[in-house]
């Protein structure tokens, strides 16, 4: 009984936004919303916490610049400080302008790639991952809100009928 959910299906993002606000106001717990494209302001309406991906990226960038600096310092200054075309390899700072392009690219490389990988891991995306859409139409032109049912099935169904849903289904989840 406890794993029953309601699928309320909409065909317009404005109606969906209104329905989300009403559902929140009625204190029903929204499990998920499936949309074919990003709906501006949906995360705010659902009350989802802001992403921390940018903070991750900043930290990855710091890792990148540290790696670039360490690598160039070890190779060019510590390990084999050759005189290459008169470049001063006595200390890192003396030859630093030549290393800046590398430090910059390492920063961007680390920040970008690690952030993308973080995104994949946090959103559980990988090749051969089984798709999770509850209704194939949600990738094309329909919007679906999934709400958990707790013994109040009829009340919920009639509630969602009033929110402009084109279809309300009760599904037993496996």
């Amino acid at each position: 009984m406890s794993n029953k959910v309601i699928y309320a299906i909409y065909n317009d993002d404005d109606i969906l936004m209104d329905a989300v606000k009403k559902t929140r106001a009625a204190h029903y717990h929204i499990e998920e919303v499936f949309t074919p494209f990003p709906v501006h302001g949906l995360d705010k309406a659902m009350g989802i916490a802001p992403t921390r991906l940018a903070i991750c990226a900043f930290l990855y960038g710091i890792c990148g610049i540290s790696f670039g600096t360490w690598m160039m310092n070890y190779i060019m200054i510590q390990d084999w400080p050759q005189d290459i075309g008169g470049k001063p390899s006595f200390s890192y700072i003396e030859n630093m302008p030549a290393f800046v392009p590398i430090m910059f690219e390492e920063t961007v490389f680390f920040a970008a790639h690690l952030m993308v990988i973080t995104f994949y891991m946090r959103s559980r995306l990988w090749p051969f991952k089984e798709a999770e859409n509850p209704d194939v139409r949600t990738t094309d032109d329909h919007f679906l809100m999934e709400v958990a049912v707790n013994e109040n099935e009829e009340e919920l169904v009639s509630f969602f009928k009033t929110t402009g849903a084109v279809e309300v289904k009760v599904i037993e989840k496996q």
């Binding site: 940018a54 900043f58 008169g86 302008p97 030549a98 800046v100």
Partner: protein, 456 residues
């Protein structure tokens, strides 16, 4: 409608008065002849060993002359001549100091209003939906342009009339092979670097910029009373034309007014570099004036999203400036070709702190502060970041101009600070007077509704 608060007006008058006094003091205390320079050098000889040693060796030579009758008089004469040449050199640098201080402050504020004008023209041409609520603020700031242009032009004419030695190539006898001042390299550039051509170019550029500013504002005000969008379209067209003229004139302006201070040196991306410097300063000034007017309750429709956008521009263009700064520096440092690299050798050896300090103020500080989305909406953080950016870009202009005019005699003292205060006071007075002349919200701009409801 904005009313110029009497407090701010008094503040601007005080700044101008203090600035004028300081500028006058700077000119009065500049040495008149080499005897005074000798005294000044002797006074701080305990600080600089080079000069002290020079004096010592000279006196020991004189002692030798006195004791030995067959002393080499030629050596003494050469020493004395070198000493005098050195004094002459320092005299010119010290006499240049108040002039250069005035020049740096004058061009800095002039170019800030140009940065705002360029930003304004870009917003018009790009049909930006967010910025029309800020157009009147930008127009207010650019009203400094005519005033600044006149003062700057007078300064250029004074340079041409030999009141100072800011521009070496304007010196007498520089292009004359018979003169002791003859400089073959400068003579070779005389086809471009000669006073009549130079001053005419300056006049054309200043006139072109002022004409655009005048007509753009006029059309914008006329659009308020109009019944169709003709004036808007007219403004669109002249803005596009102005931007073409601007990018050409800006590049040449940077060679004429800044790069020609070091006439033996040249750099290809210099125009862009100067542009980035005053463009980011201009955007920062827009942000700060907007924040000020907003805090006084005059900009009803400006919300944190508008401020956020300005802050993003401040951040982005700061990084762009750094990119050009580094590209110029690194290419010259890497190749190390003697005729190009002296430019940076002087700056690193003699201007070490301002040279690298400018990078910290204009890059590291905004990078770490303005990268945060929440911070870009907080007034006090923006005012702090803006202040650092503006000071940093003053230092940037200082670095571009001072090494060629005063060399190792530089100091940020009375002359420099007073000049900045004077132009700052004038800037406040002119800008806020202009802001009180027109409503702060354009009425019939096609994008004004969108701009009022702009939300990011």
């Amino acid at each position: 409608m904005y009313t110029f608060s009497s407090k701010l007006k008094t503040f601007s008058f005080i700044l101008m008065a203090v600035g004028l006094l300081g500028i006058g003091y700077g000119f009065l205390t500049a040495p008149k002849d080499i005897q005074e320079v000798e005294k000044i050098l002797a006074a701080d000889s305990h600080g600089s060993h080079g000069v002290a040693k020079h004096e010592e060796s000279k006196s020991s030579h004189e002692a030798n002359v006195a004791s030995e009758e067959h002393a080499d008089a030629a050596v003494v004469a050469k020493e004395a001549a070198e000493h005098e040449e050195h004094l002459n050199h320092v005299l010119h640098q010290l006499q240049n100091k108040p002039w250069s201080a005035l020049y740096v402050a004058c061009i800095f504020f002039l170019l800030i209003s140009m940065g705002v004008l360029a930003f304004y023209a870009i917003q018009q041409v790009a049909q930006a939906g967010w910025s029309p609520v800020l157009f009147r603020v930008m127009q207010g700031i650019t009203s400094y342009l005519p005033v600044g242009s006149v003062l700057f032009f007078i300064l250029l004419v004074l340079c041409g009339l030999h009141f100072n030695h800011i521009f070496v190539w304007l010196g007498e006898g520089v292009t004359d092979p018979k003169s002791a001042n003859y400089d073959e390299i400068i003579a070779g550039k005389a086809g471009y670097l000669n006073f009549p051509f130079w001053i005419v170019r300056a006049a054309v550029f200043l006139l072109g910029w002022n004409l655009y500013r005048y007509f753009s504002r006029k059309n914008c005000l006329a659009q308020d009373e109009s019944t169709n969008d003709d004036f808007y379209k007219k403004n669109f067209k002249i803005s596009a034309g102005f931007l073409v003229f601007f990018i050409v004139s800006e590049s040449i302006m940077s060679w004429d007014w800044i790069m020609s201070i070091d006439p033996h040196w040249f750099s290809t991306l210099f125009g862009w570099y100067v542009f980035a410097s005053f463009f980011v300063s201009g955007i920062t000034v827009i942000a700060m004036v907007t924040l000020y007017l907003k805090s006084k309750g005059y900009l009803e429709h400006v919300n944190t999203s508008h401020i956020h956008d300005l802050a993003k521009f401040m951040f982005g263009i700061s990084v762009f400036w750094t990119y050009l700064w580094f590209s110029q520096f690194m290419l010259i440092w890497y190749a190390n070709i003697p005729e190009e690299v002296t430019y940076f050798i002087t700056r690193i050896q003699v201007y070490n702190l301002p040279f690298f300090g400018a990078v910290v103020m204009n890059f590291l500080f905004p990078l770490l502060i303005l990268i945060n989305t929440d911070f870009k909406r907080i007034t006090w953080i923006l005012v702090m970041a803006g202040t650092v950016i503006l000071l940093g870009h003053y230092i940037d202009f200082f670095n571009m101009i001072m090494p060629g005019t005063v060399g190792d005699q530089w100091f940020i003292g009375v002359s420099e600070i007073a000049s900045v205060l004077f132009f700052f006071g004038l800037f406040i007075f002119v800008v806020f007077t202009a802001l009180s002349k027109a409503p702060l919200l354009p009425k019939r701009n096609p994008f004004i509704e969108e701009s009022k409801h702009f939300h990011y």
